[in-house]
């Protein structure tokens, strides 16, 4: 099932749903035919779209809004915070091409502080699916949860079949005593590859798909500290994302751990097609594994697919 099929099913079954976009139709190109006047395109107006979504929510609607991640979270930030966050209205943000998924667009389109910004808003919930299967499994719960939400839309296919979603719970893919990798979003596929390489090198490796970044699964983070090294992998600035969440969680519970972060440290990434970006920035499965190991291996990096969308 695709994102648009799921949203169409949800919105046709439940009259409360309104699908909105600030002229970012990549994910909702065909939905107008099903929803008629419950599909609203406000044009290139992220701020007005969010304000109008708040107004619709005041009237009992559940607006699912679409825009490019950087404009949704930054241009419209104050509208999200003030008009959805303060009154705790169920405005559902679907952010398109977050993180590395903006591949060739350049720094204007790079939403790599979105997790930090959105989780800083009281009442806001934040989610980052590993792939399309994970996305489809989590959205029904998120859309029906009575709070504003931010979802990093990720329709990449990793081939992994995820466990059922539980809001606020991470998905433990594997447990290990040497290294545990914590990740979210499209880098999940690369961490799966890294785990294989690390296992072949004889390490006991755990992997956790965080899924729900706010509320976050503190227990999963704390249990991961039983391995010798924690590794955070994210397409986000080092500040405010998963590395920060792990640090906050450990500090809150007065626990220490050795943590190796993979993130963008005070820099935007070099724009190119996704496989080139991952290679250049050091986020392929092979690069992640070899940095953890501290030596190179003769493992073969899988081919990384170029995303099929662009806007």
């Amino acid at each position: 099932m695709t994102y648009e099929e799921l949203l169409t099913r949800q919105a046709t079954a439940d009259e409360r749903f309104i699908v909105m976009t600030a002229e970012n139709r990549a994910l909702v190109r065909n939905i107008y035919a099903h929803l008629g006047n419950r599909f609203i395109d406000t044009g290139i107006t992220e701020q007005t779209m969010i304000g109008a979504a708040a107004g619709l929510a005041l009237r009992g609607r559940i607006p699912v809004v679409h825009a490019l991640a950087s404009f949704l979270t930054m241009r419209a930030f104050e509208f999200v915070r003030t008009d959805a966050g303060i009154p705790n209205l169920p405005v559902k943000l679907s952010s398109f091409i977050p993180g590395f998924l903006s591949d060739g667009n350049g720094p204007t389109h790079q939403a790599i502080e979105d997790i930090a910004l959105m989780r800083g808003i009281p009442n806001m919930t934040v989610f980052a699916p590993a792939d399309e299967d994970d996305l489809i499994k989590m959205l029904p719960d998120i859309w029906n949860y009575p709070a504003p939400s931010y979802v990093r839309i990720n329709t990449q296919k990793s081939g992994y079949e995820h466990a059922p979603f539980e809001l606020g719970k991470a998905e433990v893919i594997a447990e290990g005593t040497d290294v545990t990798i914590l990740t979210y979003g499209l880098l999940f596929a690369q961490t799966l590859a890294a785990v294989e390489i690390l296992k072949n090198e004889g390490l006991s490796v755990g992997l956790i798909n965080m899924r729900s970044l706010k509320p976050v699964d503190e227990q999963a983070i704390l249990e991961a500290t039983s391995s010798k090294l924690l590794v955070t992998v994210e397409d986000h600035f080092l500040t405010g994302g998963l590395y920060s969440i792990v640090a906050e969680t450990l500090l809150k519970h007065q626990t220490a751990a050795k943590v190796l972060p993979f993130a963008l440290n005070e820099k935007w990434f070099k724009p190119s097609l996704l496989p080139n970006v991952l290679q250049h920035e050091g986020f392929t499965g092979k690069q992640i594994a070899e940095k953890i190991l501290g030596y190179t291996t003769n493992a073969v990096q899988q081919t990384i697919a170029v995303p099929q969308f662009s806007e």
Partner: protein, 288 residues
């Protein structure tokens, strides 16, 4: 409306005087945005008294009309109106800035009758659009008023909202501009000129009426013509005077936010009744 009911102009003027008394009484012990409240007082009172179907018993009725106070800092005029129309206990105004209540310089939805919080300018045009869109989708007849400050029109989102409201033909939406000629510290035309404002709103697709915002008959004539034009956003530019009713602060750039002393309040209350001009010594240019 074809059968325009008459209004009791004299009674409205008397009530408006009481609303202004409430505003003045809130302008001490921390103060409030008294000038912008006094400019909006007549149009807010008119709307709640004569035009909107909003009362004590239908505040949660989805078929009620909506009023969104986008400029926000004129909320003392709204609270004064609420008291006079029985939507709020008079004694509650004494809680202005109390830590135990929710009455402060901008509106809060914990006060019954406040539809949405505001304070950050340029937000409620879009929120009002969402409500107006939903009413259209459901085929409702209720109307959505959004009161804007003129300085607020500096914010690009007001104009973005006009584009979207026009695109969706929201003729159940009425933008009312409290055109008191001042933004915080300056006359609007000296800082960011807005005129010709009628032409600007017309060019954005609005059906525009420009009236004297202190003249109840003019307000009544304008709003009785709703909807101004099928398929067009209604726009009322209400020409007003900042500080209206208190000649000692009217049209004064340095009397925006006012925190008067107790003797000044007594003097200003007499000034409202035309008794004299107040001698004001409290700090000017208080900026919050």
């Amino acid at each position: 409306m074809t059968d325009k009911p008459t209004i009791d102009r004299q009674k409205l003027q008397q009530t408006a005087l009481k609303v202004r008394e409430h505003i003045v009484k809130m302008a001490t012990d921390g103060g409030c945005f008294v000038g912008a409240s006094l400019s909006a007082a007549d149009l807010i009172l008119y709307l709640y008294s004569e035009w909107l179907n909003i009362d004590n018993h239908n505040l949660d009725d989805p078929d009620r009309d909506y009023l969104f106070l986008s400029k926000g800092h004129d909320v003392p005029a709204l609270y004064g109106t609420f008291v006079e129309l029985g939507l709020m206990e008079k004694d509650r105004l004494k809680n202005h800035l109390s830590i135990d209540d929710h009455i402060y310089w901008h509106p809060n939805t914990k006060i019954p009758g406040i539809e949405f919080h505001s304070g950050s300018l340029g937000h409620l045009p879009s929120v009002a659009i969402g409500v107006a869109m939903d009413i259209k989708i459901r085929g409702g007849k209720n109307r959505v008023v959004c009161i804007l400050g003129d300085g607020e029109l500096n914010e690009g989102t007001c104009w973005e909202a006009m584009l979207v409201a026009n695109a969706y033909k929201l003729d159940n939406l009425i933008f009312v501009v409290d055109r008191n000629q001042f933004q915080a510290n300056m006359p609007t035309e000296e800082l960011i000129p807005l005129e010709p404002l009628h032409d600007k709103f017309t060019a954005f697709g609005g059906a525009v009426k420009r009236i004297d915002g202190h003249d109840f008959d003019a307000l009544h004539n304008a709003f009785s013509a709703y909807p101004f034009e099928t398929g067009k956003v209604n726009v009322v530019i209400a020409d007003t005077v900042r500080g209206k009713g208190l000649p000692s602060i009217e049209r004064r750039a340095d009397r925006w936010f006012c925190n008067f002393t107790a003797p000044e309040i007594e003097s200003l209350l007499r000034e409202l009744h035309g008794e004299h001009l107040s001698q004001l010594t409290s700090e000017t240019l208080v900026v919050r």
